[in-house]
Each structure stands twice: as structure tokens, then as C-alpha cells.
């Protein structure tokens, strides 16, 4: 049986695009035929669940019962990949909980593949989270995600500040999410469908939709760029699946 994979997407700061990145991950795995389930910790109303209702369950990560729902089922077979969209402010406490229940030790021992996508905002407060989160990252794949969806910058203009955050953690891998046209982003929000369905001009129940060709084009172009970043970090290899040949068609 394939080793279970847990991907945590989170940040302590709000509004940095955690759910957007989670959505691109679910679309990426779907296009690569990787069976995936997702947990949305934005209880009681989850944004991720709105876009991927079939895959997503809303949980309260601070409740023991819901922790059991996520982690006690990891070895129960397919789907082997679990994506957890951790709501704002909960990343550090969630990682502490994982340490307490012995999950991080299991990851360190190689029983579980564990990856953290730490979504960063353009503030010192957000960058300060890196050092805090890095303490939990032994045995995990740690990705620092610079999300440009809000047309932001990450102190690249001040090399000393930039290096002090991005080059301090040795094993962290940087990832860039490019900017998506605002109107295209809003239209997908209104449609409440995965990015893939929007590009394919489909509605919630796979019915034909009538989205703008221009906006679909922008989303397709942007999604291709995001996925090329996932390809660059060999995400399918990380989750133990070869890259699907049928992806382009999809």
C-alpha cells in the first residue's frame, strides 16, 4: 500500500491565499489522477468546501474527534493524499498538535510523507512565522510559498531582509504563485467551481457554462504557471505518483 501523504497548507496571517493554493493543489492532483481528499478547517463554513464539495470535509482541528477523523484514517487505503487547508492563525497550533500526537515523529521515521505549504504575505509579521514554523519541519518537506496573487512583493528590493528570511531555513523550497487577473479571480469566486472546471467552461454539476473566453484564458494561463511550479518541485513524485500523460488533454 502507498505511503500516506499529508499536505498542510497554512499561514498564521490571514488573507494570504491559503485556500487558493489548496484549490490549485486539488486541481493539480485531479489532473494527474492522484486520488485526494481534503479537509477544510474553516469551521463551520469552509471556503475550500464551496469549491470542492465532493472532496472536502469541514473539520475543527482543535477538536480531538476531528483530529482522529483526519489522522486515524490515513492508513485506511485510498485516497492516499490528504490536503489540509488550515485556517488563519492556526498553523503553529496545528503543527504543535501534530507534534503532540506523534505525527511528526512518524513523518520523521518515514512512515508518512508530510509536506507543509507555508503561504507568505508581504509583511514582516508573515515572514517572522517562517522561523517559528521551521521548528516543526524536521522530517517534513517545507515549501515557502510566495503568493503574488495580491500583486505583492517580498522585500526583494531589500536583499538583506529577503535573505534573512528566505535563505535562513536550509531545507525550505521556495515556490511562486503568480498573479491572476482580478476579474478572472472574482468570476471563479462567483462561479464557485474548481479552476479546472472554469477553464473547461463547466458549471458545478458539469453542465455547460457560459464564462468569458478571455477570463477562462487568463485562468488557464495562470493555472499552467502554478502547475509548472508544482512540476518543478516534483510534487507528483513526492506523493508517489508518476506524472499523468493525460494531463494536457484535461
Amino acid at each position: 500500500m502507498a505511503k500516506p501523504v499529508v499536505i498542510v497548507v497554512g499561514a498564521d496571517k490571514g488573507g494570504v491565499g491559503k485556500t487558493t493554493v489548496s484549490r490549485t493543489l486539488l486541481d493539480y492532483f485531479s489532473a494527474n489522477n492522484v486520488p485526494t481528499r481534503a479537509f477544510d478547517t474553516e469551521s463551520p463554513r469552509g471556503t475550500l468546501k464551496r469549491f470542492h464539495p465532493e472532496l472536502t470535509e469541514i473539520v475543527d482541528m482543535t477538536a480531538t474527534a476531528d483530529q482522529m477523523k483526519i489522522f486515524d484514517t490515513l492508513n485506511s487505503g485510498t485516497p492516499s493524499v490528504t490536503v489540509i487547508d488550515v485556517r488563519a492563525g492556526l498553523l503553529s497550533p496545528a503543527l504543535a498538535s501534530l507534534r503532540d500526537i506523534g505525527f511528526l515523529d512518524a513523518a520523521k521515521a518515514g512512515q508518512i510523507t508530510f509536506a507543509v505549504f507555508h503561504i507568505l504575505g508581504p509583511s514582516i509579521a508573515s515572514l517572522d512565522e517562517i522561523a517559528e514554523t521551521a521548528n516543526f519541519m524536521q522530517g517534513a518537506k517545507y515549501f515557502l510559498v510566495k503568493n503574488f496573487i495580491n500583486n505583492t512583493s517580498f522585500f526583494e528590493w531589500d536583499q538583506a531582509t529577503y535573505n534573512s528570511y528566505f535563505h535562513r531555513i536550509k531545507d525550505a523550497t521556495e515556490l511562486t504563485i503568480p498573479k491572476l487577473n482580478e476579474m478572472a479571480y472574482e468570476q471563479v469566486e462567483v462561479a464557485s467551481v474548481p479552476f479546472l472546471k472554469f477553464v473547461a467552461n463547466k458549471g458545478t454539476h458539469d453542465e455547460a457554462a457560459n464564462y468569458s473566453f478571455v477570463l477562462r484564458g487568463y485562468v488557464r494561463h495562470w493555472l499552467a504557471n502554478v502547475w509548472s511550479e508544482f512540476d518543478r518541485i516534483k510534487l507528483t513524485d513526492l506523493v508517489g505518483a508518476g506524472k499523468s500523460g493525460a494531463r494536457g488533454e484535461k
Binding site: N181, E182, M183, A184, S212, F213, V214, L215, R216, G217, Y218, R220, H221
Partner: protein, 222 residues
């Protein structure tokens, strides 16, 4: 399935004759098909809208809403030819956006046939613009317009590669005559009894060039 041609008349330079060519092409298509949809993205120069207000609407590509209004119409295979008079200020933005949204690929999929009519000039901006188009546009969809009034018989060699449509220069007094807002090329052909006039022959020559261009596109598709 019948395809819908979309003619995009463009140049990164002002005052090279884009609107003149758009007018000629619109009138040719109106004469041949009885219908055409023209889009004027050229409001900083002499405007197609002023010459052919009944078939022309304004469009813009400097904001997403304007792009949607334009491109969502262009991508429809409705058998009505489209003509776009693309102003020099919108040249880069239009083709960058077209590439980003995959306009050429989607057009091919839907049976829409874009034809880029690049109006040549001898300056560096034109050379750069033409090179950019050669990289982005399949060569069967890229046509260079050699407007003699602009390039004076010195069409850059790089632009002479591929299909070229030549527009002969008119004497200045005739140029002034056809620049009047009320002037119609087709009406002139219909009403001028003397078919040997320079203007009569000039219009017929250009209509013939467009007809040939259309035929070559049909042959390519078949």
C-alpha cells in the same frame, strides 16, 4: 464547417494607413457579403468609427472588461467577418493578451480564422513588432501590408518574407479626396462611369488583392 475570418489591422506606429486599409477591407466585405462587424481600437488616430459608423463599434483593450467585450465577440463563429482597426497604442497589449488567453488556438478550435494584417514601416518599432508577430503568429495567418505611401518602395527585407499585400500610393489630391468622411470606395466604383481613372483602378486593385487573400485562406483551410 464554414469559418469566420477575423482581420486584425495593426502596427506599432501611428499614421501608417491602418484606418484606410480597414475602411477598404470593410467596404470590400460589405460589397461581397452584405455584412461585416468592425471594431475601432484606434481612438487616438483618425477613426474608422467616423467613416463607417453603421458597421463599426468602439472597443478597448486597456482593461479586462473591454477585453472581454471584444474578444468574446471575436471568438464566435457566426459567419460574419470581423475587422479590427488596432491602434498603435494597443498593439503590444492586444497581442500579449491574445497569447496569454490562447486566442489563436481557441480560434482554430472554433472555426474562426484570424488574419493579422501588419502595416509595415521602416522604423525600429515596426521591425520589433513584426519580429514579435513572426514568433507568436503562424506564418499562414500573418500578412504584411506594403503601403507604398509609407514605405516608399523600401519594405524591409525581413518583412518581405511570407505573404505581402501591396497598396499603391495615390497622388496627394486623390488621398485628400478619399480621406473625406463621406467618401465610399464602393459608391465610387458604382457611380464613376469612367473606369480608367486612377482611383477606380486603385480601388479595384485593392479589392482584388483582398479577394485573392480570402481565396488563399480558403485554400489553406481546405
Amino acid at each position: 464547417m464554414a469559418t469566420t475570418p477575423v482581420y486584425i489591422i495593426c502596427s506599432p506606429r501611428p499614421l501608417v494607413g491602418k484606418t484606410l486599409i480597414a475602411r477598404l477591407l470593410c467596404e470590400f466585405l460589405l460589397l461581397k457579403n452584405g455584412t461585416v462587424n468592425a471594431f475601432d481600437i484606434n481612438l487616438k488616430e483618425p477613426s474608422l468609427l467616423e467613416y463607417l459608423p453603421r458597421v463599426t463599434e468602439t472597443a478597448e483593450v486597456d482593461n479586462t472588461f473591454g477585453k472581454m467585450q471584444l474578444m468574446d465577440r471575436l471568438i464566435v463563429n457566426d459567419a460574419v467577418a470581423k475587422v479590427i482597426d488596432l491602434g498603435f497604442h494597443a498593439f503590444d497589449e492586444f497581442f500579449q493578451m491574445s497569447e496569454e488567453i490562447g486566442f489563436m488556438k481557441e480560434a482554430a478550435r472554433r472555426g474562426v480564422s484570424p488574419v493579422i494584417l501588419f502595416v509595415a514601416d521602416t522604423d525600429r518599432a515596426s521591425a520589433r513588432g513584426h519580429t514579435m508577430l513572426q514568433q507568436k503568429i503562424p506564418k499562414t495567418h500573418l500578412v504584411t501590408i506594403d503601403n507604398e505611401f509609407v514605405v516608399r518602395g523600401e519594405l524591409p527585407r525581413a518583412m518581405a518574407v511570407g505573404r505581402v499585400v501591396r497598396i499603391a500610393a495615390l497622388p496627394v489630391f486623390l488621398k485628400t479626396y478619399i480621406d473625406r468622411l463621406t467618401f465610399s470606395f464602393t459608391n465610387y466604383l458604382r457611380n464613376e462611369k469612367d473606369t480608367s481613372t486612377e482611383l477606380h483602378q486603385w480601388i479595384r486593385e485593392n479589392y482584388f488583392s483582398f479577394r485573392e487573400l480570402e481565396l488563399s485562406l480558403m485554400l489553406q483551410r481546405s
